[in-house]
Structure formats: structure tokens, C-alpha cells
Symmetry: D2
């Protein structure tokens, strides 16, 4: 049994907690949160101990792994502490909101030997992975264009937005920036981004971009398009399309049932799954499973710090392009 400490009981925390608890070879031992009530509630549900102080958990010699799902600006400190305590680390994306923070983590991690994994869960989605595998096995020959549509049903609450300007790059499209690297096994050499504020003042009071279109050129010459929105009223829209010399692949959306309703109004299917936690439930399970396996086997987790760093670099360059209105060249 690998014992886990979860840091950050809000939002995505309960998802990871449940997956650890249900894992046959893992156990949730600690839940740490500055909000002790939140920590208590989640800990109780899974028979774990709760606390406000991470140090207390890290001092527990039976603890093997830490899951970091606090707000991004706190990640670096927690990573540093966990690494020094010799615990395996699973960190939610983004590792940090700027590269200096990531580099600080890299420094600490390079001096410890702890397994480290970034939570780019979409790599574990069965359909996205089937698309990935089809590219790798040559189904479409050389990939020439990649198109990612990444639309959230709801913008984050205003305070979260205020804390993370251009969050559509750092929090949402960062998944796509990771996916394009993983799917194409290639790095971007240029990025162009255009954003807009389409939501009204009530939905988006900070007037931070809520809509974006991006074009990237990859080292191989492949062209990539990403589009994103913070208000997709029809549900969580998550599609990837890969076009190549021998064909085209589409990773399509998911619906809760396969029911078709035929009436004089036409044929109707359910709305798309609305909540990212439902859409990617299987991915969240599988990423924890892979992390547990890596710890057990002593192998390097699939998605390392460098992956987190690269995705952040793309996000930063994208923001620079969006602000300046011109393409930004990237070093590979």
C-alpha cells in the first residue's frame, strides 16, 4: 500500500482523493488544507487524517507520496518541501505561473531522486490516447495539421480570474499546449494568438480574455490551431483533430447516454457532459494509477517537470503574442 497525502481539499482535490482511496494498492492517509474544515470533511470521507500543516504529514515515515492541488502560486513551496522529505510528488498543472518558479522546482528536484509527475490528465483519456497511438503507428502518415477545440462551460469565479490574468492560456489552453507536444512529438517554433472578451461584464468583470484563437508552427513544419472559450453553453467541448498525408483522426465529444430521441422536431441527443470532472473521470483515475505504478516500479513518471515547463513556455509566448498582436518566435 502506498500512502498518500493530498494537499488542497478544494475543487479537484476530492477527485484525486477518491481515486487514491479506490485504488487497490494506494491509501489516502493525510488531507492537508489551510481550511481545516475542508480538510476534515474530505479526510473523514476516506478515513484519512486531516491537518493544516504539511510538515506534520511529511514527517510521517509511512507517507510515500504527495498530491499537490493547491492554487498554482503555492506549488513551488510545497514541491520543495515534499522533495526534501523524499516523497513522490504528483502536481496539478500549471506547475507555476512563471518560468522562474518552475526552474526553482527543477533545481530542487534535480537534487532529490523523488518521482515527479505533472497532472496533464488528458493524456490518459482513452479517446485522446487512441488518437495519439494512431498517429504513432502511422495511421495518418506525417501529421500536417492539428486542431484542438477546448471550450469550458463556465469561466472560473472572478477571484480566481483576478489571481491569474490570461488564465485562458495558463489554466485552460495549457492542456492543449501539452497535448500538441505529446501528440506530435514536436516543439513549436512560433505562436500567434488573438483573444477577445465576449462574455458580458457580469460574467467577466475583470475583462480578462475569455475567448482565444491560436496558430502555432512546429519544428517539423506542421501547423496547429487551438481555439478556446470560457462559455460553452452546450457543455464541455473537447475535440482534437489530426490531419495527415494518409488520413484524418477526430477525438470527438462524449455524451452521458447513447439515447436518440426522434420527434417531429428532429433527432435529439443528450447535451455533452457539462463538467470537466465527469468528462475526464477516467483520465483522472488512470493518471493516479500510472503514478502508483511508476512509484512501485521505480520508473520515471510519464509526464515530468520538463513537460510542465514546456507547456508553460508556450502559454507565456502565447500571452506575449496576444498582447503585442504579432507572432512570437520560440526557441526549441
Amino acid at each position: 500500500m502506498i500512502e498518500f497525502c493530498l494537499v488542497g481539499a478544494g475543487f479537484i482535490g476530492p477527485v484525486h482523493a477518491a481515486n487514491v482511496a479506490a485504488h487497490p494498492r494506494a491509501r489516502l492517509s493525510w488531507v492537508i488544507d489551510l481550511n481545516l474544515d475542508a480538510a476534515d470533511a474530505l479526510a473523514k470521507k476516506h478515513g484519512a487524517r486531516a491537518g493544516r500543516d504539511l510538515a506534520q504529514a511529511l514527517a510521517d515515515p509511512s507517507l510515500r507520496a504527495v498530491i499537490v492541488c493547491t492554487p498554482p502560486r503555492t506549488h513551488a513551496t510545497i514541491i520543495q518541501a515534499a522533495a526534501q522529505a523524499g516523497k513522490a510528488i504528483f502536481c496539478e498543472k500549471p506547475i507555476d505561473l512563471d518560468l522562474a518558479g518552475v526552474d526553482a522546482c527543477a533545481d530542487v528536484l534535480s537534487r532529490s531522486a523523488v518521482p515527479f509527475c505533472v497532472g496533464f490528465n488528458r493524456r490518459f483519456d482513452p479517446t485522446h490516447r487512441a488518437l495519439h497511438d494512431a498517429i504513432r503507428t502511422g495511421d495518418i502518415g506525417r501529421p500536417e495539421m492539428l486542431i484542438l477545440s477546448s471550450r469550458d462551460p463556465e469561466i472560473s469565479p472572478p477571484d480566481a480570474v483576478a489571481a491569474m490574468p490570461y488564465g485562458i492560456f495558463y489554466d485552460t489552453m495549457i492542456h492543449d499546449f501539452d497535448m500538441l507536444r505529446w501528440l506530435l512529438q514536436d516543439e513549436p517554433v512560433e505562436i500567434y494568438a488573438r483573444t477577445a472578451c465576449m462574455l458580458d461584464a457580469k460574467e467577466n468583470p475583470h475583462r480578462d480574455p475569455d475567448t482565444a484563437m491560436v496558430v502555432l508552427r512546429m519544428a517539423s513544419g506542421a501547423l496547429v490551431h487551438v481555439n478556446s472559450s470560457f462559455r460553452s453553453v452546450y457543455g464541455y467541448d473537447q475535440r482534437i483533430e489530426a490531419f495527415g498525408e494518409k488520413g484524418m483522426l477526430i477525438s470527438g465529444n462524449h455524451q452521458p447516454t447513447s439515447l436518440e430521441r426522434h420527434s417531429s422536431e428532429g433527432t435529439r441527443r443528450d447535451p455533452l457532459l457539462y463538467f470537466f470532472i465527469d468528462r475526464y473521470a477516467e483520465s483522472y483515475r488512470r493518471e493516479i494509477d500510472a503514478f502508483v505504478e511508476a512509484i512501485e516500479a521505480g520508473t520515471t513518471p510519464a509526464i515530468g517537470l520538463e513537460d510542465g515547463r514546456r507547456a508553460l513556455m508556450i502559454a507565456e509566448a502565447g500571452v506575449r503574442s496576444a498582447k503585442s498582436g504579432v507572432p512570437v518566435v520560440m526557441q526549441t
Copy 2:
């Protein structure tokens, strides 16, 4: 140019008239109908002559072919006259409402050498034909089950129903009875049918069956199911499913556009095509084209009198089963 006379200006008549008129190697010369106004109107549209008397048209030596789309009980007389005049004959289904009438036609036709074709247009539908060809080329190996769903959006007008009791067998499912023979290249040895009156007294005042389910056993052992309704509010529902040892084929429905509408209510597609003339527009074109080609080439048209007779035999046996409540054995 092959000159055609159309007999019967109502209902399906204008469809055949337009297809003949648009055909590069055919011309509509005559339109005959007891209702001279109807004949006139249709003839005028295509530059043809109108009349009430078929004999007048048959006396025209340049006339090569006759299309019969009057009510079924009149078919035999018209076929006889046209055959004696040496004209090629295209006859709408059913050839007659009882086998004696068909046999009378067979007798006349056997003594003349005129090409004769029954209008089982569905054999010419591109999707149904693709299913047919896939069976023939062995895609599903030996066919084991066949399921035909055949649902009309609207019952025929009450007077037509009164004139043709159990019309759901003789007028609608007769298409399916032809399709199952054509698709399986096999004959039924037994039929069981159950019917119901589901429409209300206003829609179906004669309380003639408006809903039916049929099971047939074929000489090969294959099992066939047909279901039919006279009130499919969501459009003209026409599906065929062939199941065999190596796979399964579905000839699906057709929609007027490929537009998908996503909203918080779900994903919506257009209703199915509502009118059989829209759904089978291409089939009607192709069956006339094939008939013209057979006349030109001097070959036997694809769907002969024996096909019309076999489909009617199945309809009759089905009605006997529906009335008696027990399966009816058929001679092959």
C-alpha cells in the same frame, strides 16, 4: 428518344412524368387520366398530349412505353391493352390486389414479347443497393437475420383505405416483401403476422390495421422481421438491417441536411425526410433510367412480373396469418 405514355396523373404520376421528361433519351408524349383536368395539367407541364382514353395513345405508332400508375384494381386491364399494342410496360406496385389478377396479366404478357417492369423502386435506392451488394460480395457471410422497419408518416386518405383493406400489407409492406427476397435471394416458407389499430377513430375511421409486425422464415433458415406503421410523426422511417456470420449492415435513414445544432438542450439534427417522394427521389430516377436502358438494349427489365407476383403472395399469406392468428406456411 423513347416516347412514353403515363396512365394515372395523380399521386406518384407527376414523379414519373418529371423523370421521363428529364431523361436525356426519353420523352413524355402522352398523359392519360379519367380526370381530364389532371391529365391536362400534367401534360402541359411537360409538353405532352393529354387524354381520357388510353386506346388513343396506344394507337400512336411512335409510342414505345407505358407507365401504369392508376389504382391497383385497374392495372390488369391497362397491362393487357398495352401488351396487345406491343408497348413496353412499367407498372407501379402492386400489380393487382389478388393473385388471379396477376396471373391474368402473366398470361397476356407471356403471349407478347413486351418488356415489363414492376416499380419496386427501393431496389434502386443507393444505400439499400449498397447493402444488397455488400451481402452479395460476402461482407457478412451467410445472412441469418434481416430486419426491415418501414414506417409511413401518414396513412392514406380514408377512401383509399376503404378501397384496399389490409393496405399496410398490400401497399406498404409489399415493398419490404420484395426487398427481403431481393436482399436474401431466397423465398419465405412461413409467415406470421400481428396487426393493431393504434391510430384514433379520426385518423383511421375504417379501423383497418395501421400497425404490423411480421416474422418470416426463409427456405435457407434465415429469419426476417418486418415492422410497419402508418403514423411515424418523426418522418419517413426506412431502415434495413442485415445480420450474418461475419458482421452486420445497416441502411440508415436520410436527413435533409447534415447540420448539427448544439445547445444547452442537447444536440439536434433535422427531422427525417417526411415524404416518400423526397426520400426515394433518387430511386425513382434510377428505376426509370434502368427501364429506358432495358428497352434500348432489348434486355429483360430487372424486376419482372414474377417478382410482383411473389411479393403479393407474401402479402396475401401475411394477411391470412394476421386474420387467423397463426403462422401460414408458404410453398416456394
Copy 3:
């Protein structure tokens, strides 16, 4: 925590065991099987005790519930013992292979107050249930036709077939017989069935029917068709279609991913899920959850002995029709 004993470690046993073990308010305490090795292996996986003797488990006062998934002919004895021991009972379908066995169980159960549930898991499938709910809320008005396609990818092993003649009725279509009652809230008054042996002598050495088509007439007048096969090479084909005065509903098949592959050969999707345990994974979870909830709340489980009895009556009548070749009238 409700403690469970699982009787029957083979086939479906491990599925129920895992669902009980993963349930937050249930625990697997005992696994009983005549094959002690099988019991041991499964018990070990979930931290339960293993044994050959059910009495030993029933004597455990902390045991609250028994899951019966042994072969059907053993169900009655186990149900009787468990009822007398005052344990809640979840029994796999069919309850027994003949009605006398079911009646014996009914007798015992009527004299105890233990909760009893039959494992008609399909009622818990999210899509089938959405179809059920849509009928209940009037989406299609009065239901007029119901069509169930129920095709297994593989026939059971020969010895299982030898032990259960006409198993396609008793083991496979019995699910459909339950579904039609549940979906229509109606009882059949007549059944007609035709079967065939389509598999070759190697696949089906006992020449027991491997293919079937059934038509039922319901008390309401609605018509129902069921078709079934033991060899669906394209996967586990499970569809339900409900046709009514206001529309039509289709509960469609499930595919493991939503990936579309476009090439010069056409558009390809994954094969259907192959294994019933994958297709109905969610149903198996939900039926155990509902059973736990019923025990906790002291309510009657959703699917009682009478449901099991009714489904078996339909199967028996269907077999009689298949054997005699004529429809069989049923008392409601």
C-alpha cells in the same frame, strides 16, 4: 457497513465482488464456492473469508446480505437457506429454470421478511433507463411498438449449453422479457417465437437454438419484437427502440472511444464493446448500490421475485411456441 457473502466465484461473481468491495457502505466478508480454490482467490483479492459451505457464512451474525451467482438450478436451495437465516438476498437471473422452483422460493420468501432482488442489471443501464424515463414522461405518447436486439458475441461453453436447453430464452432473452415489462409497464398476452441453429457444429455441438426471433402482443395492444443471436462478431449488440404516437426512442450501442478514423477506405469507428461485463459495467455497479440502499432504508428492492417469475413465464411460453411452431397465449 453492510457485510456481504458472495456465493459462486465464477463468471459474474468477481464483478459483484468488486462492486461490493468498492462500495463505500458495503464490505465483502465471505466468498463461498464448491471450488475452494476459486473462492480463495476471489476472497483474497478483497480481504474476505473463503469457504465451501454456505452454512458457515450464514451463521456469521454480522453478515447481512447474500449475492447468489451460482448456476440457476442451485438458486432455490441457496435462497431458501439465506431467507431462513434472515439475510437479504440478491439473486442473479434466472431465479430458476422452471416455475416450480420459483414458486418454492416465493413460498419461503413470503414467510421471511428478507429483502430480495433479482439481478436484471439492464434496468440500471443509464441509456436504457433514460429511454424508460422518456417513455414514462410521455415523450413518445402511447408506446405502440418495442424492438429489442440482444446479440451476444459468443455462445456459452458447451457444457453450460447442455445444462440449459433453450438457453437463448432462459439466459439471454430473459433480460429482454424483463425489459419489455419494465419499459411498457404492461404484460404480454401472446408470444410467437422462431429459432434457428446458425452456428456450425463446432461452435454449437448440441444444436440448441443459437438464433431467435420473437413477436409478443401486450395487454395494451402494443407489439414487441425481440431478436437474439449467440454469435455477433462485431461485439455485444444491445439496442432498444420504442415507437409511439409522438415519436421514437433508440437506446444505441456503446463504443470504447469516440475516435473517428478517416482514410481513403472510409470512416471507421471502434468495434462495439465486446464483453457484456464491459458494456454493462455501470449497470452492475448501480444495481448493487440500489440493493445496498434498499437494505439501509428498509424498502423493498426494485426488482422482486414476481419480476423474476414473470420473465421466466415469458421465456417458458416462448420456448413452447418455438417448439410447437404456433403462438402461445399467456394469462396476465
Copy 4:
């Protein structure tokens, strides 16, 4: 009967000739082509006169309309001659390869009163039009993003490519540039384009761009993405997606049949229609019909010279961006 002269018997010429010939109120009287054999062959098929000299046809007083489908660089001269002869003009896109040519045509047309229509046939495609109408009637509220995928199965022959550098903008995406204006009823204020040569030297010997991605910003703030390729091996891929505050619309691809083939390899559908003339057959019919109606009614055809000019302006700005690597600002 409105009599037509077709100028340019190659490529798209036969499509327009057939649609004019089949139109109930139009007649093809003349076919003009420098290649007299080509003119002869096409004219013969439809009972028209053939010639090499346009002046001869324009001198025919019964001639009412001219269809221009010669190579783009010849359009201006033909338009000028036809306008001076007082004939209605239907001109294939693009009107010219540079704006000066279009302006010269505008000048001539402004001094005559002849009806003039540009052949942006996609506006007449039933599905694209349904998407257009759904936007106009407010189905998705304010449009925020538009994504057009426009992929040809085959690059044009090398000599055509040599004659039209950056033809992917001027010949292919010019359709999309018209569609985005029509769908959004809005004009672009900025365009960014990236191109690539993905085909090998044999397929694309001139190394003219064969792959492109474009992002446009519209006056309303809406963002638009267009992607295009000259080698879509899976057929003619033509999709449009409109995202707005209340929903999303997709105009999907078309397949020749609705057949689904299920096997152990998965579910397979036909390849997409391969040839643009098949995919847009209905659009070509409808645009000629609308042109005939405008002539009859004396109204201005739906797609005027200004539409042709605007689409060309976008193509030119796109080429400038592709060459310079930076976004190009456009005056509205």
C-alpha cells in the same frame, strides 16, 4: 425560356451546361471555347451551337445570359464584352486574380444595367444555408468564433498551379473568405496566415503552398479560423462550425450512402464524397436556378461584384501575411 451562352467548356463548364439544360425555364443555346472540339462536344450533348468566337454568340439577339467559366485572367474581358452586349452575366470565382481587374469590371458593369452574379456556389448548399439561417434567426446568439475546414482531395494540375501562385488563397479559400462574410454579415479587420508545402516534389513541383492556416479578426470582434489542404486522401472535407453565446452549429460532411458496416474491425461508413462537383451538385443547381429567377424577376442577383471584390481583398491580404509572417490589417 432564357437562352444561355456558356463560355469555357472545360472543368466546371459541363456542370453549368447540364444545369441550364435541365432547367424548366432556361435553354443552353451556345457553347464558346477556344478549343472548338471541346465546345462542339458539350454543345452537341445539349442541342446548342458551338463556336470559338464569343462575339458571334453575343450578336444573337435571343441570347439573354452568359456564364463565364474560363480561367480567371480572361474573365474581365469577357465580362466587359457581355455587359456591353447587354447580357446578364454569371461569373465563376474569382472574378480576377487582382483587384485592378475587378475594378475594371466594376467600372463597366456600373455603366450597364445587366444582372451580374459571382459563382460562390457554397452559399446555396442546403446544409451551409441551414447554418446561415440558424445564425440569422439567433439560434446561437452573437457569433463569437467561426471555423472553416476546406480541404481538397487533390491539388490542381501543375500548369494551373504555375498560372496562379498562392492558388490555395485565390482559388480554394476564396470560397471560405466569402462564406465568413456571408455567415457573419461582418467584415474582417485583420488577417494572419501561415502556409506550408507538405506535398512531395512530385505532387507539388512548383512548391506553391498546399497547406494553410488563417486567423481573422472581424469588425464585431468575432474570431475566425480557416484551414485548408490540397491533399485530403479521405475525400472532399468541407465543414463549418459556428460558436456563439447560445450554442454551436456544425455543417458536417456528406457521404454517398447512409450504410453502416459492422464487423470485428469496427464500424465503417463510406468515404466522403471525393469530387467537389458531387459534394456541391445541389449548390450548382440552385445557384443557376436563383440566377434565372433574378433575371426573370428583374431583381439583383444575390452575390454581386462587391462580394467577389471583398473575397479577393481578403485573399490578397492573406497572401501578404503568409509572405511577411505578420498579421495584415484590413480597412473595412
